[in-house]
Symmetry: C2
Subunit: 498 residues, 2 copies
């Protein structure tokens, strides 16, 4: 390769799929997470912060037949040739911790974790390769009381951050009900769990596509197969019409049928399946535990129509859905949708220790929930006020301006001295504008000699500049001269917290 | 390679040099950073959170003559063959942001950042490959008022987190004073900055070793050279005795000479050097700006004896030193030492844009400062109380226990229901002990029928178990029966916040 003539300057860019967060983006997220933390704490959950870096082996993403770990994680080889990777969620590190510290941790172990995770996936609009998760899990609790607790806590967390009751519902379903339906439909044989595994895979993937394909499309995939618009044919699970109808009961989420009625119907259908009956009983138990705590179906609802996550989880599954409407890209109304999901998963620790440990938990999509709070006008409606700007009129009197700014800060007022080149006073006011400062303090030699300062109300000034007559503007009602000793009081008056 | 017979279980371990943070370790750090954030906010600094991943090119650690980026960073190649890396500090990402958003950011731009950074270095005791930094920088402010502001803010931050006045001092020096001494000593020629570069390197490295080698060792390195204990000879800078004496003035940090006196002496010595004189003047200006804000030398002191960082920075340098004594590994008293450092650095953005942008800032060593607060007894003295534990006496009455726990939480009391296997009641009390619970709630069938609960004061119980006679123990003063309706009040009474 030919040597370049002059060294190229580096590009000042984030890597593809990564982004920076400025000002309110950082503080609003921190505040939301702080409130969620308070709820988790009250429920007895303890914080856990694992390192961002794990061994690929511990993450469980290593494919032994390729040189590099598979797609999906950012991984590299360290000096000992071990593969390391950035965590892709907060559950895999919890599994490692639960195994590593199993003799020291309380059992059950309730923990919450919040922080960035990384995915080596194709970035897209709104899809980043680093994003926040906020998880709470209970490890070592076999009882569905643990699942009910997670649901109650999720409900409290949503209300605490500012989603009003009535604008959300935590929906609860159970993987065992699906298993029961499969057993009744003849694609699950408890005596030989591996039998029909291929068919069950097709059934699960089909049910998961209900929103996109509609009932007819799903029914086709459950039966012989489906031809899509392009003419491509996907082979189906080979269920009879009757079998398909049984499995389809799960997706029957017509508004005309309420959840309780559907649950009763399902109970009837899965009667012949022990696992299905167990699933229905667990849902009833969760409902009664929640009712005892005062969580009615307006907040947490048993809903066998919840399909998401049924493939991954082994028992109860939860999904928090925001029910208020927003406008989509095309200006159509649609409900905001899911902001959190979770459920019960077995064998969390088994990979490491061989011992089965039951666990249940929830993960809140931090960016989704922030977007919801913005859509509801709970945050980001008006920019937080910037600092008071103490302008520099006289370069030799920096110490005086520093004393002013120190006095304001000591009074708890956010304040700055202008630290750029003070020569052009217009630049100082432009800076104040960019900082969204509510107030500018001005003190020239003359004012200093008279022991006064000019206090300029920049918000009022902007209103006058936009609307007022030349006479009003000239009279400068937005600027007041006050005695130097009255500075803090005058600023407080303008800030509205006198 | 022979195929293994059975798949080996993954090891449940953090990668070498990484660690997990549990419970109070997480909350204490979060609380300390929250307090520091409040101070930074009051000073008009805005939060910035950059991604953990940067291009190696932007980080500036890429050595073109090797396949992999140099040691010190964790780096990998993405699918486009670009090298990506984890940030190793918060300053390099700031440089990238200042260049990338230079048309959008206010100028000067004050920002703070806190978060983990990663170093691919050999781990050791207390040395981890992921650790927290907490930085504040002002970009685009040429005036030393910006440096003075950083020092005042650092002083406020230390006091706010709990380091009392008198237990710390922020020391301020100036790289230009060293340059002046070098010029006077004849190893800096302003007309040809590259001349004597080799000698200056030796001088800087020698001065930096003052604590380890002592004045004689440094003097030897400044002169002909130094033979160490093993007999190895290090070639010196070749300064004459007189030249060495001039440079050594900087390191003359005997307690008998106060900072002001040494500053005067230095001013005299560097009179012939414009850069040296400028350095002294800047220090005087910083002192007067700080005095105007009420920061005397008890908090922020001009100290030409501060050597650390003089090689890296281009103007004023700062170091926050904690002056209280702790015992070292060998039981000897020594002062706690440095917890933060910073200074002025040019050419932050120049790498990217070609334009020089002045900047100054400080970085707080988060783990060091936490260790200091622990040493001072400000945090971690007593474990935060655990949650109230509602025990499970009767598996069929889970809903009742859930109602109890919900009532406690609604009253703002941290509470848990026991979620493990309730069969063995002793295990429940062991769990409460491990969770450091102050109170256990017990309600068997009998109590339920009578509408009462047993409230067990576990802290008092532990005291009695340790010290009391068998009679006292039998009388169970630590356990009280109260009406179910009085539960919250009874728990509050024990928790001491009735």
């Amino acid at each position: 390769m030919a040597k370049e003539k002059s060294p190229r300057r580096p590009r000042a860019e984030t890597p593809k799929g990564f982004r920076d967060y400025f000002g309110a983006e950082v503080t609003e997220r921190a505040e939301m997470l702080r409130r969620i933390t308070e709820v988790y704490h009250r429920y007895g959950f303890d914080p856990l912060e694992t390192s961002a870096v794990e061994t690929v082996e511990a993450l469980g993403k290593f494919l032994p037949d390729v040189d590099r770990p598979n797609e999906g994680v950012f991984a590299w080889q360290d000096e000992d040739q071990d593969w390391l990777a950035l965590r892709y969620d907060l559950t895999a590190p919890l599994a490692r911790v639960a195994a590593q510290y199993r003799n020291d941790l309380p059992s059950p172990y309730r923990r919450y974790a919040m922080g960035p995770v990384w995915r080596n996936e194709k970035p897209g609009p709104g899809r980043f390769r680093q994003f926040y998760q906020c998880d709470a899990d209970t490890v070592g609790a076999p009882t569905v009381a643990a699942d009910a607790e997670i649901c109650a806590m999720l409900s409290d967390a949503l209300e605490t951050v500012g989603i009003p009751r009535g604008d959300y519902v935590v929906k609860v379903n159970n993987r065992k009900v699906l298993n029961g339906l499969m057993q009744v439909a003849g694609v699950l044989d408890p005596a030989d769990p591996n039998k029909f595994a291929h068919e069950r895979g097709i059934v699960l993937r089909a049910i998961d596509k209900i929103d996109r394909l509609g009932p007819d499309g799903v029914r086709a995939l459950l039966g012989e197969g489906r031809k899509d618009e392009s003419g491509d044919f996907t082979k189906g699970a080979g269920l009879s019409d009757e079998q398909s109808s049984i499995v389809m009961l799960l997706t029957d989420n017509e508004l005309s049928v309420d959840a309780a009625a559907r649950l009763l119907k399902l109970k009837e259908v899965v009667r012949a399946s022990p696992i299905g009956t167990e699933g229905i009983d667990e849902l009833a138990q969760i409902a009664s535990l929640l009712e005892a705590q005062g969580y009615g179906p307006d907040r947490i609802d048993i809903d066998p129509g919840v399909v998401r996550g049924l493939g991954y989880y082994t028992g109860p599954v939860f999904e928090a859905e925001l029910t208020f409407e927003i406008l989509d890209d095309k200006g159509r109304k649609r409900s905001f949708g899911s902001v959190a999901g979770g459920g019960r998963y077995d064998d969390l620790v088994k990979r490491f220790t061989g011992q089965s440990v039951p666990a249940t938990g929830v993960s809140i999509g931090v960016d989704r929930l922030l977007a919801a709070l913005r859509a509801k006008g709970r945050i980001g409606q008006e920019a937080a006020p910037g600092p008071v700007i103490v302008t520099v009129m006289d370069r030799d009197r920096m110490a005086d301006y520093m004393a002013i700014v120190a006095e304001l800060r000591a009074a708890g007022i956010r304040a700055e001295m202008y630290l750029g080149n003070p020569k052009n006073f217009g630049n100082q006011l432009k800076y104040a504008d960019k900082r969204q400062s509510p107030v500018a303090i001005i003190q020239g030699t003359d004012e200093a000699a008279r022991g006064v300062v000019q206090v300029k109300d920049l918000i009022l000034g902007a209103k006058i500049a936009a609307a007022a007559s030349v006479e009003e503007w000239k009279s400068q009602p937005a600027q007041t001269e006050v005695a130097r000793a009255d500075l803090v009081a005058a600023v407080r008056r303008i800030l509205g917290n006198s």
